[in-house]
Each structure stands twice: as structure tokens, then as C-alpha cells.
Amino acid sequence: MKIVMAVIKPFKLDEVRDALTAVGVHGLTVTEVKGYGRQKGHTEIYRGTEYAVNFLPKVKIEVAVDTGQVEKVVEAITTAAKTGQIGDGKIFVIPLDHAVRIRTGEADVAAL
């Protein structure tokens, strides 16, 4: 099992969610985050005081998937989240040891 973690542009969330549903993913966790990579920030001015804001708002999605599904899921996210502009984001695949469905006690792949 793996966790697929993707940091994407916030307005792409709905598109990515639809794409994931299409490949059979039926649950995900979303967090609002800030970050930067090659996309630079911007300057804000408040009454003569200038602030260079380097962190940009992003959305982080985490999905637990069966190892065999990882490639499909990564491709779905990539296609849906891509705009071609700097700042589209990144996807990380992280090993997942154990998963449990709290309501029923099902474990590992049955819990995904």
C-alpha cells in the first residue's frame, strides 16, 4: 500500500477529485497548505509598509491506495492538476505499513 500525496493549485481540487473518482478512488483527505517552489511570491503594500510574501496558498491531497493502483492514480492527478504554468505542484508516493477502517475493523487493502 502507498499514500499518494499531491500538492496542487487550489482551484484544481474539484477536477482532481473527479479524475480520482473515475479511476476508482473513493476517499481522500484535503489540507490547505502554503508553500513555494519555483513559483515566486508577490509583494503586498499596506500604507507604505511593503511585505514580500513568499508562501503561496496550495492544497494538499492524500490518498491511500493499493500498490497496484499507484500508477493510475498518479497519472489521473497529473492530468487533472496540470496547467502548464510554474506552480502546478508535485506528487509524492510514500510507503504505507498498515491501514484500519475504524467502523468495522477491516485492515489493510480491505480498508482502502
Binding site: E44, I45, Y46, R47, G48, T49, Y51, V53
Partner: protein, 505 residues
């Protein structure tokens, strides 16, 4: 100096005991002063003029104006300032402003009104003849600017009370995010007593048009030489029964000096003494809610009609002129700031527009009942531009942390207003001219004379307030210290001073 702090319960007990003793003394003093006042009552005035009357229209308007000015402070100023600080300090700003209203309200009726608006042994400050509102009843009257027209004195007391409440609240903007509540709680009442009451007295206290008119008529009616000399002496005495700055001939319709220059210079002194916020210049400290800031600014503008038009004390043409000026000067200033910023920085900001509006309101305050509307527009535009320069260029050049631009908006805006009032009052420029109640006609206008008086008023206010604020803050610093600990400041005053969060989201 170290001493063992009593337990919290002990402190509460001491406070309750003091409060109880104070209440008992109120009653005792009230009785004593009433007897003193009755014994010292002046001779009844020569029956030259009819008794002034109070009408319901003026009273109704002034009741509304008073409430509008309160709205300016809570929540107008509270939100205007609060939106500009970081969310971890929002509640502390709200608390400082709210506390200012409450503490000043009490002090005002105890002895503040008396110190400001009764005659004293010096022209600097009044006396205690009306302490505890002794002698004031629902029938008591206060003068307006029209002979024969009065308003209830209690109403005048309440109206002026709201001015006294907002002035210290304005100062706090320069010291936000790094001053302990205990220090602020001490500072506000001490400041209002030592600085505000005397300045209000100096600028606004006078015998009133009814007294002057009566004395002037007595001079005209005096038959022979001896009676005339006596009547003239009486007129001179009545005319001299006024605050120092009033006697200099300086004019300030609604409080450009008394409120804005006063608070503004106190603000910069406070900012310099308290020091910069930790991380100033390095950490990101953008306003946490410009939405709240704009709501506050809007409430300030709406409430300011009570401040300016209410300062006419009657529901008459003067009030209408003040309202008009309060509209156009503000709009002119907001647009001026907005366009200058657009050109200088590339984007017009909302914060700039509303700050410009407030700068215009400040500048038109002393001029509102004296200038013509076209002059008021010019005044607004100048204030918007000059205050913009001070709030960005000058402030950054000197590097001081006047966090909410109390100096740049209120002191500078007030000075612009005070000086330009001396020019715009000129009838040739659409102004009203200044009424001379001894002659019953508009006095001749001389720009140089008037400007000298205005400059003297500005100078006196700057010195009295600047020095007074410096001394008070220094004393408080020695007794309990001004700043919280570094950790408390980093965590946020809401939690460390008040045990609350402004937002639990």
C-alpha cells in the same frame, strides 16, 4: 522596589472596599459641593436679556449627535484599529478602546467636565465647582453659539464626554501589540486628566454668547460715565472668562487641536517610548482583516457627522454646513490618497482610500463649521496627500513604529486642519467668518492675525500633550513597566493579557 503582591482575592477585596468608600464619599461631596456652590452663587445678572430657552429640535439633534460620536469609538475606532493588527492581538485593541470609553465616562462626570468647562483660577484648567455634577439638574442649561438658544447642560455634558472618551482611544494605535494592559489601564485615565481636560479647557471654555451679549448690552444701556466704566469692566471680565487658547483667538470647531493634534503627538511620543514591536521590519505583520478596518472606517465617517455637525450645538445652518464639509472633505481626501498611491505604487489600495478618508475627516474637524464646502474639498485633498507622504515616506525614512499611523493621520491631519481653518474661515473664501458677540457682528478677518493664533494653538497643544504624555509614560514605566515580556508579546496579548482568543476558528 519589591513588595509582596496580595493574593487575587485580597486584591479584589481591597478594590471593592475602595469602591465602596469612593461611593460613600460621592454622596458626601455632592452635598458639600452643592452647599459650597449655593454659597458662592454669583449676583444675578442685570435683567437686560430674556432667559435663554431650550428647544426640542436642538435637544433631539444633540441627543442623536452624542450617540453618533459614541458609535465612532465603539465599534468604529475599535474595528478600524483592530483590523490592522495581527489576529493574536485583535482582542487587546478592542479591549483598550472599550475600556477607554468606560473609564473616561466615569472620570468625566466625577470631575472631568468640571475641569474642562468651568472657570478656574488660571486660564489653563477649570475648577471643581461642578465636580460630581454638583448643581447640575435636568433643567440646567448650557450655551450654544446663538444668543438665547441653549441646550440642556446634561446633554452638553454627555456630548463632550464622548469627545473625551475617543481622544485617549485614538492614542493607543501607536502602541498596539506591545504594551501591557495594566500599563494602558493606568495611562488612559492619567492622560485624560493631565492632558485632555486642560487642553479642552484652554481651547473651548468660554463664558458663552448669552453672557457676552448681556454684558455688551449693559455697556450700551449704561447711562453715565461711572456706570459705563463698570459695565465695560464687566464685559472685559466676561470676555476674559475663557481658556488660554480661546483667548488667543484660535478657532477649532469640533476638536482638531483638542482631539487630533493632542492624540497624535501623544501617539508618537508613546510609540517612541514604548519602542518598536519585536520583529518590526523583519517579520510579516500585515493587517489581519482589512474588512474590519473598512467597517470601522465607515462607522467613523458616519459617526463623524455627530462629531462635527453636533459641535454646532444646535440643529441649524451651522450644523448643515458642518455636515456638508464632513462629506466633501472626506471624499476629496480619500480620492487624493487613492490616486497618489496609484501613481506612486502602481495599485490603489482600499487601506489607502479609507485612511485618506480618515485623514480628511481629521483635517476638516476644526474647519467644519467655519469653511465653505469648496474650501473643504481643497482641505481634504491637501490632507490626503500630505498624510500619505507622512505615513509612507516620512515614517519609513525615520523608521519609527507608529503602528497605526496615529501621528501621520491625526497629528499631521490635525495640524493641516488647524492652519487651513485659519485661512478658510475667511468670508472671501466662502468661510463663515468669526462672530463677535460683543458687537453682534462678524469680526473683521485678518489672515495674519488668525494664522498666528492658529499656530500658537498648535504649538501649545503639541508642547502640553507631548510633555505630559512623556512624563506620564515614564512614571508608569518606573512603577509597573510598559511592555509585556518578550514571550508574551510573541504569543499575543489576547492570550497573555486577557486569557481569550479573538477568533476560535
Amino acid at each position: 522596589m519589591t513588595f509582596k503582591m496580595p493574593s487575587r482575592l485580597g486584591l479584589a477585596g481591597i478594590a471593592a472596599g475602595l469602591l465602596f468608600a469612593l461611593c460613600l464619599s460621592f454622596i458626601a461631596f455632592d452635598v458639600a459641593f452643592a452647599e459650597m456652590a449655593a454659597a458662592a452663587a454669583p449676583e444675578p445678572a442685570a435683567a437686560a436679556a430674556a432667559e435663554p430657552t431650550v428647544n426640542k429640535g436642538d435637544t433631539a439633534w444633540m441627543l442623536s449627535a452624542t450617540v453618533l460620536v459614541l458609535l465612532m469609538t465603539i465599534p468604529g475606532l475599535a474595528l478600524f484599529y483592530g483590523g490592522l493588527v495581527r489576529s493574536k492581538n485583535m482582542l487587546s485593541v478592542l479591549m483598550w478602546v472599550f475600556y477607554s470609553v468606560c473609564i473616561v465616562t466615569i472620570i468625566w462626570v466625577l470631575f472631568g467636565y468640571s475641569m474642562a468647562f468651568t472657570g478656574g483660577s488660571t486660564p489653563f484648567v477649570g475648577g471643581f465647582s461642578k465636580a460630581f455634577l454638583s448643581g447640575v439638574t435636568t433643567d440646567s442649561k448650557a450655551a450654544t453659539y446663538t444668543v438665547g438658544a441653549n441646550i440642556p447642560e446634561l446633554l452638553y455634558i454627555c456630548f463632550q464626554m464622548t469627545f473625551a472618551a475617543i481622544t485617549p482611544a485614538l492614542i493607543v494605535g501607536s502602541m498596539v501589540e506591545r504594551m501591557k494592559f495594566s500599563a494602558m489601564a493606568l495611562f488612559l485615565p492619567l492622560w485624560v486628566i493631565i492632558v485632555y481636560f486642560p487642553i479642552a479647557h484652554m481651547v473651548w471654555y468660554w463664558a458663552g454668547p448669552d453672557a457676552i451679549d448681556a454684558a455688551a448690552k449693559a455697556v450700551a444701556a449704561a447711562a453715565d460715565g461711572a456706570a459705563k466704566t463698570a459695565a465695560e469692566a464687566k464685559l472685559a471680565e466676561v470676555t476674559a472668562d475663557a481658556g488660554l487658547i480661546f483667548q488667543w483667538g484660535a478657532i477649532d470647531f469640533a476638536g482638531g487641536t483638542v482631539v487630533h493634534i493632542n492624540a497624535g503627538i501623544a501617539g508618537i511620543v508613546g510609540a517612541l517610548l514604548v519602542g518598536k514591536r519585536i520583529g518590526f521590519g523583519k517579520d510579516l505583520m500585515p493587517p489581519h482583516s482589512l474588512t474590519m478596518n473598512m467597517i470601522g472606517a465607515s462607522l467613523l465617517w458616519v459617526g463623524w457627522f455627530g462629531f462635527n455637525a453636533g459641535s454646532n450645538l444646535e440643529a441649524s445652518g451651522g450644523a448643515v454646513l458642518a455636515m456638508t464639509n464632513t462629506f466633501v472633505a472626506t471624499a476629496g481626501a480619500a480620492l487624493a490618497w487613492m490616486f497618489v498611491e496609484w501613481m506612486a505604487k502602481g495599485k490603489p489600495s482600499l487601506l489607502g482610500a479609507v485612511t485618506g478618508a480618515v485623514a480628511g475627516l481629521v483635517a476638516v474637524t476644526p474647519a467644519s463649521g467655519y469653511a465653505g464646502p469648496m474650501g473643504a474639498i481643497v482641505l481634504g485633498i491637501i490632507a490626503g496627500i500630505v498624510c500619505y507622504v507622512f505615513c509612507s515616506g516620512v515614517k519609513n525614512a525615520f523608521g519609527y513604529d507608529d503602528s497605526l499611523d496615529v501621528f501621520g493621520v491625526h497629528c499631521i491631519g490635525g495640524i493641516i486642519g488647524a492652519i487651513l481653518t485659519g485661512i478658510l474661515v475667511n468670508p472671501a473664501l466662502g468661510g463663515t467668518g468669526i462672530m463677535d458677540y460683543a458687537t453682534g457682528k462678524i469680526a473683521d478677518y485678518d489672515m495674519v492675525t488668525q494664522l498666528i493664533a492658529q499656530f500658537k494653538a498648535v504649538g501649545m497643544t503639541l508642547v502640553w500633550s507631548g510633555v505630559g504624555t512623556l512624563i506620564i509614560l515614564k512614571v508608569i514605566d518606573v512603577i509597573i513597566g510598559l511592555r509585556p515580556t518578550i514571550d508574551s508579546e510573541r504569543e499575543g496579548l489576547d492570550l497573555t493579557d486577557h486569557g481569550e482568543r479573538a477568533y476560535n476558528m
